[in-house]
Symmetry: C2
Subunit: 323 residues, 2 copies
């Protein structure tokens, strides 16, 4: 028997799951549409059915000992998903309790960035680190803070919303209802807004020939690689704002490492070089040269379910240790 | 015998100490000039002599069991004061080890804002809180973060430098060598810079009759209380920047409480009202209404030595508990 936890990553469109062993190997897994069900009961019915089928179909003998869930608006303390704007379920959903009952194992949940941070700590490039920050750069900007070897949850379970720090007062409108949040500038969608703004300002670019509403991140990446000045400028602006925000973050939690993760990281040096430059420029002298900025060691589609599974592994081990 | 720790608060000009019991009562204490000695040895000689004399002179029977020190540029992990620009000692001074040897009790040190946070947690308005931020508003702006019941030190002992987050890129010159740090706007000296800037801009004010270089915080406070528009404007600007910075801080550590402390807090509603307004305005919806902004429960000259003593009490109890 191989002891595994099941990691479940719930996104607005897709739900992925995998059985993950203590070394982080994804031994079996599956996927389903999150938005196929308006209500939570039929959604959970399909999910639990898929998980059980996947387990019994596996040629490995898997012993399921825990369940970890990464989801938007997830609260670690209450085990609930609260009013998630990107999910069709309404109100406060006690997801951990429901899954624990139906899978007959302890279940625990947190938001996707926190789960990603634990994945890095147990299985990835943050092994052995006690103080680091994981920043996810996807459609939005998420963050998970580990301090003193533990995820920082805050008093209510909602710590780590770096994407919703206001960096430009009265700046761009954000989905949260305010203006100027970091994620409206630093994320895949933030980069695209910067590109469209520069196009509207009339900057010359190979991207000007395309319909601005159908422009994608890959188009900007390709243009920047070909030396397009507007596209390079957009990456430069994005990286500089990110570097400043990260330097300010260091002045609060003083991590040894900041790990970048998610779709935007695929652009490599186009983003990293201006980020690194602005980071070092804006860092207080006592921190300078002492904080490593790096890319995630976990890549691709497995990272999210590994993170969710890591949450469960960590929880099981803490209970075992009597914490 | 009453068991006490000695709290030592080291400032650029003055060093204060007091024997503090587990309830936070300062039972005896004293003071000396920090800047009377260019070197550390004669400084420590005078300090230890004063502490021992004070103890033997006391009518109470005091049992000294620990020493806590609050000092600028102090590192909790190493027990050293590192290159403090406001102290005459050069280089890295192993202050905790030196005091522990000379007083024959365990000694521990941290920066003054961290010590103040522990003072609030053990003796003040943060009793029972596990996640809060203490912000000191004096000549500069210091901060101490408590998360999950523990001071947040970061990987290197230097966490909690909220005053050196850059809030206005290319803004005012800061003593740290960079520009636009929060403390260049939000602190007693920041308020005075704002007043002088408004005077230079030609705004009418009763303060315009005074020599701008001799203007003091109290003058601005008195003018604001009399309805002087420029002085009110300076408090408004200071409070609004503070409120935004605190809202951004909540998005990182999600505290239940933010406690303001130090000289600027004496201005009461002049500062608090704009701070509170900007804080609530800029808070992400999930935090709104859930974070208390309040004034320190520890007032006056005793708070700093109480905080330093609290550090020692906390350390002794953690060792006793086997942590």
């Amino acid at each position: 028997m191989t002891r595994v936890t099941v990691g479940i990553d719930i996104g607005g469109t897709t739900t992925d799951f995998a059985f993950v062993d203590r070394d982080g190997a994804c031994l079996a897994g599956g996927s389903m549409r999150t938005d196929a069900h308006a209500d939570i009961e039929p959604y959970l019915g399909e999910l639990v059915g898929s998980i059980e089928r996947c387990k019994s179909d596996s040629s490995l003998s898997l012993e399921l000992i825990g369940c970890g869930i990464g989801a938007p608006n997830a609260n670690y303390f209450t085990g609930t998903v609260d009013h998630a704007p990107n999910l069709s379920w309404k109100g406060v959903v006690p997801l951990a309790a429901l899954l624990s009952e139906q899978l007959a194992v302890p279940a625990v949940l947190t938001n996707d960035a926190n789960a990603a941070a634990l994945g890095e700590m147990l299985f990835g490039s943050a092994k052995g680190l006690t103080d680091f920050v994981l920043v996810t750069l996807g459609t939005g900007l998420g963050s998970g803070f580990v301090t003193g070897g533990e995820l920082l949850y805050g008093h209510d379970g909602f710590a780590g919303e770096l994407g919703h720090t206001i960096v430009i007062p009265e700046g761009r409108e954000c989905g949260c209802g305010r203006r100027g949040c970091l994620e409206t500038y630093v994320s895949v969608s933030g980069l695209m807004r910067t590109v469209r703004q520069l196009l509207e300002d009339g900057q010359a670019s190979s991207l000007a020939d395309q319909d601005p509403t159908s422009l994608k991140g890959e188009d900007v990446f390709t243009a920047a690689q070909s030396g397009d000045v507007l596209a390079l400028n957009a990456f430069e602006r994005t990286g500089r704002l990110l570097g400043l925000a990260l330097a300010n973050t260091v002045a609060i939690t003083s991590p040894s490492d900041i790990i970048l993760f998610g779709g935007l990281v695929g652009s490599g040096d186009l983003l990293l070089k201006p980020t690194q430059a602005a980071f070092e420029e804006n860092l207080l002298n006592i921190y300078r040269g002492n904080v490593n900025l790096s890319l995630s060691g976990l890549r691709g589609s497995e990272a999210a379910v590994q993170g969710a599974a890591a949450l469960s592994w960590k929880e099981l081990e803490q209970h075992h240790d009597g914490h």
